[in-house]
């Protein structure tokens, strides 16, 4: 079982994630208020906040998943406390560097820092190297953490066992727990995308310090989206690993086991998730057409194991089955629904002919906010809540559970609908202020800010309840 030190560091991760989440939500609300002309920010402030908001959100929900997986991994293999601490320190330093580059240096090239925008300096000169260095610090910490977790798994399981290949046949001699399989598949994706980020950053630094101009724009774009798309998806898979491990346990049901179709599905997921990123480049017509088609097919195929195995398994586990419902498994269950609905929006956008009229409109933040704010966040909140109360003595009743869920659902759905309607109205994303011809844009942004405030209230309640107990 886990040591006291692991318990403590997991508590620190949880408090940091929730605190940063609150700041990042506030930045998001300020952005929508500015778009709604309720407040006035300069475009530089707006885009700086947008950069901070995006990268902070990606970072915290990735580390939230990693911290949860690391904690639960102690049930199967010993993990390195030192590496966990190293990742924590790198994350804190990385976030401080990122925030100083954006808040003080006014760096505002977006969290995707699409080459060569970071080099068209419209901010303090030092902000570009500090921003890029913050990514290096975060990337090194996370890469070491991922490699360490994977190497610990491989000390106990062979490579084929870690991928559950023996489950392709009947009656395997060794059972691979689903948690190990999903973590392994996810870590491969995480390491692959972090290595792509390392390559990209090396190229960017080489160009920055040599004052040259030798990075190929199309190659940089492919690397950027391979990194960005993959990490954003893998952090969801970390959350799913937690659900596979905990859903049955907190529901008072038998533990889930790896079956042949679970093994096949997760192995296939890895292939699809690593090739689906091409859908970010559909509107670059110079990309080979074959890769564009691969992008659409991989995006479609990625939904099959997700829907047919994970989602279906959750539904089978719940349907006409007596379950000990608590805030933890309710958050997991609703989170899976949010993930499904965000996935529907994503598959629609991953259809090339739809992307032609949806790309970089508000439809894009609509779908990724759905599977993050109403999916992945709920997976992690479920874990946080379970973790905060697992050491309680006696039976615990969360008096605010229904209030928190109501606020999340009410605030989240309203906030997201404004994005979807805006996307259908062709309103561009990432605009600090909307052109006057988009008459619905500002009112929708204002309404979204109001709904997001309800969501924020729910998170504040979670923060108060959870930090009191960890």
């Amino acid at each position: 079982m886990e040591s006291l030190k692991t318990r403590k560091i997991t508590s620190v991760w949880i408090v940091i994630v929730l605190a940063l989440f609150i700041v990042a939500i506030i930045l998001g609300i300020l952005m929508r208020l500015n778009q709604g002309t309720i407040i006035q920010q300069s475009p530089v402030t707006f885009y700086g906040n947008m950069t901070t908001h995006g990268l902070t959100m990606i970072g915290i929900w990735f580390v939230a998943g990693m911290a949860a997986v690391n904690y639960l991994m102690e049930r199967y293999v010993k993990t390195s406390y030192g590496v966990n601490l190293f990742a924590l320190i790198c994350t804190i330093i990385g976030v401080l560097m990122l925030w100083s580059s954006t808040f003080i240096g006014h760096f505002h090239a977006g969290w995707t820092f699409l080459y060569p925008l970071p080099f068209k300096v419209a901010w303090a000169q030092w902000a570009t190297p500090v921003f890029l260095s913050s990514l290096v610090v975060l990337g090194v910490g996370w890469l070491v953490w991922s490699v360490s977790l994977m190497s610990q798994i491989l000390k106990k399981y062979t490579l084929s066992q870690a991928f559950a290949w023996q489950h392709f046949k009947k009656n395997p001699a060794v059972e691979t727990p689903p948690f190990i399989l999903i973590t392994m598949v996810t870590l491969v994706g995480v390491i692959a995308c972090l290595l792509a980020a390392v390559l990209l950053l090396v190229l960017l630094f080489a160009e920055y310090f040599s004052n040259g101009s030798f990075v190929n724009d199309a190659a940089a774009k492919n690397l950027t989206y391979f990194f960005g798309h993959t990490i954003a998806n893998e952090m969801l898979y970390l959350g799913l690993a937690v659900i596979y491990e905990l859903f049955a346990e907190v529901s008072g049901r038998p533990k889930w086991k790896t079956t042949w179709y679970v093994a096949v599905a997760w192995n296939l997921s890895l292939a699809f998730i690593l090739t689906a990123f091409f859908h970010h480049l559909y509107m670059d017509f110079v990309q080979p057409e074959g890769l564009q088609i691969v992008g659409q097919l991989a995006s479609y195929l990625a939904s099959l194991p997700a829907a047919g195995v994970t989602v279906f398994s959750i539904l089978v586990a719940v349907y006409r089955t007596k379950i000990n419902w608590s805030l933890t498994n309710l958050l997991f269950f609703i989170g899976v629904a949010g993930w499904v609905i965000g996935g529907l929006g994503a598959v629609i956008d991953a259809t090339i002919s739809n992307n032609f009229v949806l790309h970089n409109t508000l439809w894009v933040p609509a779908h990724f906010h759905t599977y993050n704010a109403m999916g992945n966040v709920l997976f992690s909140l479920g874990f946080f809540h379970w973790f905060a109360h697992k050491f309680d003595v006696g039976f615990y009743i969360d008096k605010n559970a229904m209030l928190k869920l109501t606020l999340i659902l009410f605030g989240g759905i309203g906030f997201l609908l404004a994005f979807y309607i805006g996307g259908a109205d062709s309103i561009p994303r990432r605009y600090s202020n909307y052109p006057p011809e988009f008459t619905m844009a500002a009112p929708l942004a204002t309404v979204a800010a109001v709904f997001a405030t309800f969501y924020l209230l729910a998170i504040l309640l979670f923060f108060l309840n959870i930090t009191k107990n960890v």
Binding site: P43, Y47, P116, L301, L304
Partner: protein, 183 residues
């Protein structure tokens, strides 16, 4: 088209919410003796098969409609060169010299004839998005430095069309725009 997409999404999302709510309520009503779903493996197989077929139909219907194949066999009646730069679009009937980029204003394009936009960028990545008179996005491509994206389109309605940048390109991204008239 976008509003049809929104309706499709809302219907699918609504159906998902109904399924999850129904399954949740079935659990709330369940007794200890309830055995859950009958033959889940068989149902899972059928669910996957149906999903696979639906996605297969969707892919085979939509992929041929991808912008890369639009009017691919026709010869454009007009070629328009587009160079994007922070924070303006340069449009010209002639090739644009990146050393001294110059464009034309008040461009008029012919109705119902094939236009090819040859789109590039002189600095960072930009978007080249064409909006019709109702402010609906009708076609787009990216403007990437060092590459030329060819977008083919036939305008079937006369009027003023706006061009907006749809790839974040810096502090005046939201103000980067141009327009042309079709008649």
């Amino acid at each position: 088209m976008q509003h049809s997409i929104l309706w499709l999404f809302l219907i699918l999302a609504g159906a998902s919410i109904i399924v999850f709510t129904y399954v949740y309520l079935s659990s709330k009503k369940a007794n200890q003796s309830d055995q859950g779903m009958n033959q889940p493996l068989k149902k899972r197989f059928w669910f996957l098969l149906i999903l696979f077929v639906i996605l297969g139909i969707f892919a085979s219907v939509t992929i041929p409609k991808s912008p890369y194949y639009l009017f691919a066999d026709e010869t454009p009646a007009r070629v328009l060169h587009v160079a994007a730069m922070q924070y303006a679009f340069i449009l010209s009937n002639d090739a644009i010299n990146p050393e001294s980029p110059q464009g034309e204003t008040d461009l008029v394009l012919p109705l119902n004839e094939l236009i090819e936009f040859r789109v590039t960028s002189l600095d960072v990545n930009h978007g080249f998005a064409i909006y019709d008179a109702n402010n609906q996005l009708i076609a787009q491509t990216q403007a990437m430095p060092g590459y030329v994206n060819r977008l083919r389109w036939k305008f079937t309605s006369p009027g003023k069309y706006n061009i907006l940048c749809l790839e974040f390109c810096g502090m005046d991204h939201q103000g980067m725009r141009s327009s042309f008239t079709v008649k």
